[in-house]
């Protein structure tokens, strides 16, 4: 659903909503996976991101997102220098992901302490982004909501249990998508929430022995 404020916005540092603002949001989403500024980041640029990224400040914008700066933060201009001061060890590479990838796609692998995470995301234009893969699992995360992505064994009552954990924490579910490859195989869930789930929620989900993997992603766009 398109919002008026997606069209009259975002307020952002130029020059390109897809190459700068969208890139910054993908950096922010990657940062969220490790809950803070990563110590190291491998940023692999595909397609137009690789070809025209430098002139659009795509490099600065992704690093700015990893540092926690939002698309309207003028520090984006000097993000590379700030990253060096803050000890964020980043590396850019040009790559070719699959032919079906959107032209503005990046794979970001981040590490912070013991945690490592990888996302693949695309910048769709007008600052909108879509994360299509986290740690190798296919997802669809827009960053318009606080989001939980998880993989669980396909068993009866799993959705009820998970939604109960969220309800107990006073978190309202905006959208919930469940998919599985086959009956009895892994069930994949993407839950978009109106309120931010705390780390407690994530830990409670991870403590369920039938949940194989769970990640929390911050809301990075929208009102």
């Amino acid at each position: 659903m398109v919002s008026l404020l997606d069209i009259i916005g975002p307020v952002m540092v130029g020059p390109s909503s897809s190459h700068t603002a969208g890139a910054c949001r993908l950096g922010l989403l990657a940062r969220g996976l490790v809950s803070g500024t990563p110590q190291s980041a491998l940023i692999e640029l595909h397609g137009s991101f690789a070809r025209t990224g430098e002139g659009h400040g795509t490099d600065k914008a992704i690093v700015a997102g990893l540092l926690g700066f939002r698309p309207d933060d003028e520090r984006i201009r000097t993000a590379i220098q700030i990253a060096e001061q803050e000890g964020l060890d980043y590396k850019f590479e040009k790559t070719t992901l699959s032919d079906s990838s959107h032209p503005n796609t990046v794979r970001i692998t981040v590490e912070r302490g013991e945690i490592q995470a990888t996302l693949v995301g695309s910048s769709l234009g007008a600052g909108r982004v879509l994360v299509t893969e986290i740690d190798g699992y296919p997802v669809e995360v827009t960053g318009n909501f606080h989001t939980i992505a998880l993989v669980a064994e396909d068993r009866k009552g799993s959705i009820a249990r998970i939604t109960r954990i969220l309800a107990d924490q006073d978190i309202n579910i905006a959208t919930l998508r469940v998919s599985r490859k086959q009956k009895g195989g892994d069930a994949f869930m993407v839950i978009e929430c109106d309120e931010a789930p705390g780390e407690g929620v994530r830990d409670e989900l991870r403590a369920l022995d039938w949940v194989r993997w769970a990640r929390r992603l911050d809301k990075v766009s929208g009102a």
């Binding site: 069209i7 307020v11 952002m12 130029g14 020059p15 390109s16 897809s18 137009s48 659009h56 007008a126």
Partner: protein, 292 residues
């Protein structure tokens, strides 16, 4: 939001409301936010738009490559042309100003996108200043512009990489034309004709920036987009109608974009980017950016 501008126009006529009112009403329902809250967000966007116009008018900014900057100031202080002392010339300057700020990594409102961010604020604030209209009216106009942009996003595209420049500055010009027509007292139906009259003049426009950078010709396309929007507004307010309905003109923009060769969709493979001078400048300037 509406997926059809004609549907929004019919809705507005039936309820005796403006397009801005039906847009705000539906946005409020869609997003669960109060109309006052949405208007406050649009008012903040207006502040940023004015800030960018002010910064760009100083003439001190240069883009990363140095290819663009300083031209908005020339329209303010340079020799007179046939449009001297008209809102038209002021609007051209405002459009250049926003895009010069954008190219210099300054703060702008991407409306609809960063590359097409100059036309809408230039036309709206320039006309509001010329007519002495309130900020209240400008906020209404931004809501109408958002509605038109949302319809274009749904039916066609707002991305130069997908649909060429017609999807960015073309959309910006159509949004400016429809919203300004209503702001100046036009009916919802006249606003729809302003959109159609403006978009028909932007159809087929390719996205061919030098080196793939949002600089040249993007800065100037926003000014010429504003000129076409002003033509659309003037014709619509005079009672001129366009025989092809606005939704269908938007649809055909999407169709042309899908058929457009990839060289003309932001890849710097064709158009001005691929001219001998375009290639030479891009090579020199990209080398300079890498060294800086």
């Amino acid at each position: 939001m509406y997926r059809s501008l004609l549907e929004a126009i019919r809705d507005a006529e039936k309820r005796g409301m403006s397009l801005s009112q039906v847009a705000l009403d539906l946005e409020s329902k869609d997003q669960g936010r109060s109309i006052d809250d949405i208007r406050a967000s649009l008012a903040r966007a207006l502040v940023v738009m004015r800030g960018a116009i002010g910064d760009g008018m100083t003439g001190d900014l240069r883009s990363a490559s140095g290819l663009v900057g300083g031209d908005a100031a020339k329209l303010r202080t340079g020799p007179d042309g046939p449009l001297a002392n008209t809102p038209f010339r002021d609007i051209l300057a405002r459009a250049l100003a926003v895009q010069e700020v954008n190219a210099a990594m300054g703060v702008i409102v991407a409306a609809p996108t960063a590359g097409g961010a100059g036309t809408l604020p230039a036309v709206l604030t320039g006309l509001a200043k010329a007519r002495g209209l309130s900020d209240e009216k400008l906020v209404d106009a931004l809501a109408t512009a958002g509605l038109i942009g949302a319809v274009i996003a749904e039916r066609a595209s707002l991305s130069g990489a997908e649909g060429g420049c017609q999807a960015e500055t073309g959309a910006g010009a159509a949004m400016a034309a429809g919203s300004a027509t209503e702001m100046l007292g036009g009916t919802p139906s006249q606003a729809g004709h302003a959109v159609a009259l403006t978009m028909q003049g932007m159809l087929g426009l390719v996205c061919d920036p030098l080196g793939g950078l949002v600089e040249l010709p993007c800065v100037f396309r926003n000014a010429t987009g504003a000129a076409i929007a002003l033509a659309g507004i003037e014709m619509a307010l005079a009672g001129i109608t366009f025989a092809i309905p606005c939704d269908e003109v938007i649809d055909v923009m999407g169709e042309i974009g899908r058929e457009m060769d990839v060289r003309y969709r932001e890849t710097a493979g064709g158009g001005l980017a691929a001219t001998p001078t375009g290639r030479k400048l891009a090579k020199e300037r990209l080398y300079q950016i890498r060294r800086s």
